[in-house]
């Protein structure tokens, strides 16, 4: 559950946040990658479409919901980065 702060280690893993390449330390969360990338938002809420960024970073607030490697509504703070991971904006409610 607890992960090391990302700046404590060198950025060695390349991921893509909304298509933009960013280098992050191994073991960082996808939500940390979103913040390091300086993205303006990682989701648009399902009711009003308001833009949101990661907030609690510990799996509680659901504001970091993102599309991760094509899977919708993933809590980005709860998954570790992997080389080449694609983290994209979750636009509203997922479709099923």
């Amino acid at each position: 559950m607890y992960a090391t702060r990302p700046e404590a280690r060198p950025a060695t893993v390349e991921v893509f946040v909304d298509g933009v390449a960013v280098m992050v330390p191994a073991g960082a969360s996808a939500a940390a990658a979103v913040l390091l990338a300086g993205a303006a938002a990682i989701r648009e809420t399902s009711i009003s479409g308001a833009p949101r960024l990661p907030y609690c970073m510990m799996g509680v607030c659901f504001d970091c919901l993102a599309e991760v490697d094509g899977a919708p509504n993933v809590q980005a703070c709860m998954v570790a980065v992997a080389p080449g991971m694609r983290i994209s904006r979750q636009r509203g409610a997922r479709h099923v």
């Binding site: 399902s46 997922r94 479709h95």
Partner: protein
Amino acid sequence: MSAPESFQAIIVGGGLVGSAIAWGLAREGLRCVLLDEGDIAFRASRGNFGLVWAQSKGQGAPHYQRWTRYSANAWPELARELADAVGADVGLHQPGGVHLCLSDKEMADRADRMAQMAREAGNSLPFHYRMIEAPELRGMLPQLGPSVVGASFTPYDGHVDPLRLLHALHRAFTGAGGVYVPNAKVERSDAAPRDFRVMAAGRVFEAPRVVLAAGLGNAALAPEFGLSAPVRPQQGQVLVTERVAPIFTMPTTSVRQTMQGSLLLGDSVAEVGYDISQKPAVMAEIAKRAVLSFPFIARLNIVRAWSALRIMPKDGVAIYDQSERFPGAFTANCHSGVTLAGAHARLLAPMIAAGQLDGMLDPFSARRFDVRDAA
């Protein structure tokens, strides 16, 4: 204790039953106080599923079937008056509803039940239903799984957002001049005909009418007022999925989509007393049935789950009474605070305001449980 505060009605219980009656009385022009126990209470109104559901209510009890239908009919008016009073959108959507059957036996049993309901309804308020086979049903709900054999449908059913409903009733009540008192468990009461005193939250309230709508608390409270409320807790559990884009055209008994997009999965029943712990076996059964009904649900994340206690009268049928010993004291007991909100606000409250329950409520009296002397 402070000096007594006088009202025209005291309502004990700030859940859906008490709040709907309180709003109805306030709308009738009565000066009311609503006493709400606090978060120590079991609060069925904050754990329920949110169906407005007529098709399963009142088998073998035509008066209950009729009362439920009156309530379903009154619901659009209740939603409208809450919108007018406080601008609330309680999310009423009443397109009819289905009860899914996952085997031929379930389908046959359901058909028998629906046929009995229709027979018992008679001609004054006919019960229209259809048993719909899977191929036609798939046209209505394309996401159905291959295990679904068919469903019963009635046009009366629907759903609302129960938390918005509770909030809207409270706001409408206080907006109409009603006084809401939180953390007000009844500590003591004195009853005399049309003259009641209730001590709660360190205050004294007096009124010529008292309405007991304290859910499971009514069982202990009712005898203080010459009434009887034999109700027991019956546990139900609910699973909640992540929000998804609108997918269902209508609610089912066990799966519905909220106005915000979450799916609620439920309809479990367990007789475990005052136990609100969640049971993995029950949760697994709810999930399994939901996935058999709609296989896509297996891909969704479950984000919350809870259990709550229904207020179940001894025979499953609502109980309404006015005290014979202390006229002016009323009870309302049921496990359908959402479905019956329409009837409670628009039909029952005017009767209580007038001081007399309509004859159509006679069969709901708890006197039906009295042991008859052997001849």
